[in-house]
Amino acid sequence: MKNFNRIVTRELSVVFRSQSEFVYPLAFFIMVTSMFPLAVTPEPAQLAFIAPGVIWVAALLSLLLSLNAFYQSDFQDGSLEQMLLAGVSGSLIILAKAFANWIVTGLPLVLIAPIIGVLLNLELQANMIAMLALLIGTPSLCLIGAIGINLTVGLRNGGVLLTLLVLPLFIPILIFGASAVEAASIGKNYSGQLAILAAILILSLMLAPFAAAAAMKISID
């Protein structure tokens, strides 16, 4: 547990030294979502209709974008192997890094989502649910993403491959996340979707660190 805190603290201090990096995914999120009114229609009712999907797809992509910055340097500069050699278990490293990743990338998305929601004409209720769904859903994205990035981090052009590997695994989260917001916006019950998102989070908390740690050791070899 102590080592968990230390790794998280270290990750955060590295990121906050250069703010630009952690602003990228957030800027990406805002810009992608603001493309939709321009591309589809500025008509308020239609915007509200596509808003849940737009928010979730943009969140998915910006998290995907953040993974490389988070894992590549540790892999290349030897930090990962040093942590492993210090006796820290691979799954703890993954858990700590994924947590830091979420703090830096996921949490800002959760916080900015209501503003995007307003821009896309979502009602208050749906907006709050969007925030809540992102809060439960984005940590799973970070964990599943950790598996993908650790499988591809040692490869020469792993970037596109990472997308190919990870996006299909993101689909359930996308479906339930967007559907919760949609249900809220038409006044239906949304608790089922949120419960499933929570279940997915628990499952990925239990399994993803091990899979990602196995992947990490393969990549280090």
């Binding site: 599943i144 598996i147 499988l151 591809t152 490869l155 792993g158 491959l161 190919l164 590997l165 996006l167 299909p168 695994l169 689909i171 359930p172 479906i175 339930f176 559907s179 499933i196 997915i200 499952l203 399994l207 899979a211 196995a214 992947a215 393969i218 990549s219 070899d221």
Partner: protein, 247 residues
């Protein structure tokens, strides 16, 4: 039991057995395939709703069924390879991928073509078609990851991890897509699934399913043999085999 298990793990043993068994399996496969085709195309009746397009079912359903079964086999073999560090298991896992991807693509294509006369359009975001599409992505990811690694051993392990992650995800993906589908379109597209099937249609379907399974086993054995030769090129029995085959 364990003895047999570990014998199976020896590439040389597998190679010789596969070589002996495949001709027999092939004969069985050809005859079943022929029987299934004759029954399905000529002797089975047309459906009262769908007419003769129902005959697509005799290849579509086996292909879809194989696409899922092969993914599970691929993941289980990968897991065995990871846990017991068994060369053979990785070879099986890797050889499965392209056959599975092909069946997935075939299931998608036949499903789409079936959709045109049935629903009036080639593609609908039907739950089954969508799941199958995602399964194709998973297969492609597996194959892409395996070929991206230079080192074969690392490639085997990495893709085995991916297959395992995928196999845990498939039920979740399937459930989510099914759920999403009912939410958006209602249960109007249940034409593919009939509550009870007439025996005259059930028989050709069952025969085709078995024939497709045999096809998979035979093709897999051929692929595995090719793969074993490449990977065991330092083994003396492979050197001898290659030298013998030249004469």
């Amino acid at each position: 039991m364990w003895n047999w298990f570990f014998q199976l793990a020896s590439p040389k043993w597998f190679y010789t057995i596969a070589r002996k068994v495949t001709p027999w399996l092939s004969v069985l496969m050809y005859s079943l395939m022929l029987a299934g085709l004759v029954l399905g195309l000529i002797f089975s009746p047309a459906d009262y709703q769908q007419g003769n397009t129902v005959r697509i079912m005799y290849i579509h359903i086996p292909a879809a069924y194989m696409s899922m079964m092969i993914y599970v086999i691929m993941a289980v073999a990968g897991a065995i390879g990871l846990v017991w560090r068994m060369k053979m298991a990785h070879i099986v896992s890797v050889s499965c991928a392209s056959i599975g991807a092909m069946f997935t693509a075939l299931a998608l294509l036949t499903g789409a073509i079936w959709g045109k006369p049935t629903w009036g359009t080639y593609w609908v975001w039907d739950a089954r078609l969508t799941s199958e599409l995602i399964l194709l992505f998973l297969y492609l990811g597996f194959m892409a990851l395996h070929s991206a690694y230079d080192d074969k051993k690392a490639a085997d392990k990495a893709s085995a991890v991916l297959a395992l992650v995928g196999v845990v995800n498939i039920p979740i993906i399937h459930f989510s897509v099914e759920w999403w589908n009912t939410l958006h379109q209602g249960a109007t597209l249940s034409k593919l699934e009939k509550p009870s099937m007439d025996t005259s249609m059930l028989w050709p379907l069952l025969i085709m399913i078995v024939a497709f399974k045999l096809y998979f086993v035979v093709t897999l054995f051929h692929k595995i043999r090719g793969e074993i030769l490449l990977r065991e090129k330092q083994a003396s029995w492979v050197k001898k085999l290659v030298a013998d085959s030249k004469q």
